[in-house]
């Protein structure tokens, strides 16, 4: 049975200038696998991730024919049930450590907060567990990072702190929204290796949201390509570089290549029919 199934998910916002449909009828199911969602900013990929956790505030509205996680109907679930799901069962790594970490709390306090309050661990036990999580994401100097404030960390370190934080409760489904876009290639490879090991070892499902097609092609099992709130193409990750849809092809073509020509990069020509 699949871990998550979504049918005809829609997210819309009523704004002063009229209704904006951010996600328009997205359907997919997910097992214990790595699913990539790619698209440009504004394509609705982040909104899809947030809708799964019902983390869309009014005036935003979520509607779907079905949204089911491990037998639980996410559309009907009470706010209390949702709170118990967020974190221990489904967690989400947000895109930007600058906005997602509390700027006035030390990293150590943020990492241990959930362990102390939710799991009622003693202070030393929570500290040890948080330190272990930082080591798991390959932070070189975990003691210093525990004492640091978020502004004292580089972007890559902040991102790893957030991944560590989401992995502490050992969720069944991890939604990672651009988890490595602030990281450089070698650290990116390390972080992906960590995520990969977790998917395999813990049998975790992973939704990997990214705008980096090459990364998704290398790392995921299956890929959804989104454009203006719709899925325009679904394919096995290994076939991504041979994509059929002109939008996916256009996104691939405008990337620079090592050893490529110095001429202007091709820009993406959009076709109104893609948005259908």
């Amino acid at each position: 049975m699949s871990l998550l199934s979504v049918k005809n998910l829609r997210v819309s916002f009523d704004t002063e200038t009229g209704r904006v449909d951010a996600v328009r009828g997205v359907s997919f199911s997910l097992g214990r696998e790595r699913l990539g969602i790619v698209g440009e900013s504004g394509s609705g990929k982040t909104m899809t991730g947030r809708a799964l956790l019902r983390l869309i505030r009014p005036p935003g509205q979520i509607a779907a024919d079905e949204m089911r996680f491990d037998g639980i109907d996410l559309l009907q679930a009470s706010e209390k049930t949702m709170r118990s799901l967020r974190g221990p069962r489904i967690s989400m790594v947000m895109q930007d450590p600058k906005y997602s970490l509390n700027p006035v709390m030390r990293v150590g306090a943020q990492l241990t907060e959930g362990l102390r309050l939710r799991d009622r661990l003693s202070k030393p036990a929570a500290y040890a567990k948080a330190l272990e999580a930082l080591i798991a994401v390959q932070i070189r100097d975990p003691e210093r990072v525990m004492q640091a404030y978020p502004h004292e960390l580089s972007g890559g370190m902040g991102q790893r702190v957030m991944i560590a934080m989401m992995l502490i409760p050992n969720p069944d489904l991890l939604i990672a929204d651009e988890p490595t876009s602030a990281l450089d290639v070698t650290v990116q490879a390390e972080v992906l290796k960590i995520l990969d090991d977790l998917v395999r070892a813990r049998g975790m499902g992973l939704i990997f949201i990214s705008h980096d097609l090459r990364l998704v092609a290398r790392f995921c099992d299956r890929v959804l390509v989104m454009y203006k709130g719709k899925i325009v193409e679904e394919l096995a990750a290994k076939d991504l570089l041979q994509a059929k849809h002109p939008y996916t092809q256009g996104l691939l073509n405008c990337l620079p290549r090592i050893g490529g020509p110095r001429s202007m990069l091709p820009s993406l020509e959009r076709d109104a029919s893609w948005a259908g």
Partner: protein, 249 residues
């Protein structure tokens, strides 16, 4: 050589302990060329740009521009300007684009005119009426264009680019890189660029310095990068991790 950096060291104090962010790094950038700094986060590549601008303390070594040791005065900012990584953080949220672009002129006592601002926007491919907007009304790519326009207001010779496209989508990255290439050709600019994307660096730069843990590891020409002729293990591993960014055979 337009920019000469010799044995540059930058040391911060973190929790009472010295943190040596950059240790004795030397390199030189020829006029009208583009030089790239690559390395993992925390390798000190952005700190070098910040040290050149006076945003990080220089604890040793020297930085010379056109043969003279830099002083961070007004004349300096007319020569050197910086474009930051995150266009969401680098524009004042409560200043209109007009004010953002006028400020450098006002500070330097240069004549302010409507046409100058309009021209600056047109040069970076934005409609002239964007000057009445605020940053939150622009997309990430449009904001980065405004940041580039602001950096060019004083007509500097050198642009320091700190990951100028890493916050942008592939299609917007292509447009921004094309814009930077065009501006460099038109105005004879010198670029010192930091990126962790070897494909972006390869596309833009003539020479590359690979950094790790605050030290320089290896200096490469573009040809050596493209053909994988690096001599150090670290540069090789960086290259290997970027295998999917190679030109397909």
């Amino acid at each position: 050589m337009l920019i000469e950096i010799e044995n540059l060291s930058v040391t911060f104090t973190a929790q009472g302990k010295p943190l040596r962010a950059v240790q004795e790094v030397s390199f030189a950038v020829a006029a009208k060329s583009a030089f790239g700094l690559v390395g993992e986060s925390g390798s000190g590549k952005s700190t070098i740009l910040r040290a050149i601008c006076g945003l990080a303390p220089i604890s040793g070594g020297s930085i010379r521009i056109a043969g003279e040791t830099i002083r961070h005065d007004r004349a300096f900012s007319r020569q050197v300007q910086m474009v930051f990584q995150d266009p969401y953080a680098s524009l004042h949220p409560r200043h209109s684009i007009d004010r953002t672009l006028s400020e450098p002129l006002a500070i330097h006592g240069l004549p302010l005119s409507e046409s100058r601002i309009q021209q600056a926007l047109t040069d970076v491919g934005l409609p002239a009426n964007f000057r009445f907007r605020y940053p939150h009304q622009l997309s990430g790519g449009q904001r980065q264009r405004v940041a580039i326009a602001r950096a060019l207001m004083l007509e500097p010779k050198i642009l320091l680019l700190d990951e100028p496209t890493s916050a942008l989508d592939a299609s917007v990255q292509a447009e921004t890189l094309n814009l930077l290439s065009r501006l460099r050709a038109e105005r004879g600019l010198t670029f010192l660029m930091v990126s962790h994307d070897l494909a972006v660096i390869d596309h833009m730069c003539d020479r590359i310095l690979v950094m790790q843990h605050g030290r320089s590891v290896e200096s490469l020409s573009r040809q050596a990068l493209a053909s994988g002729q690096m001599t150090t293990a670290y540069a090789r591993s960086l290259f290997a991790a970027s295998a999917d960014r190679m030109l397909p055979p």
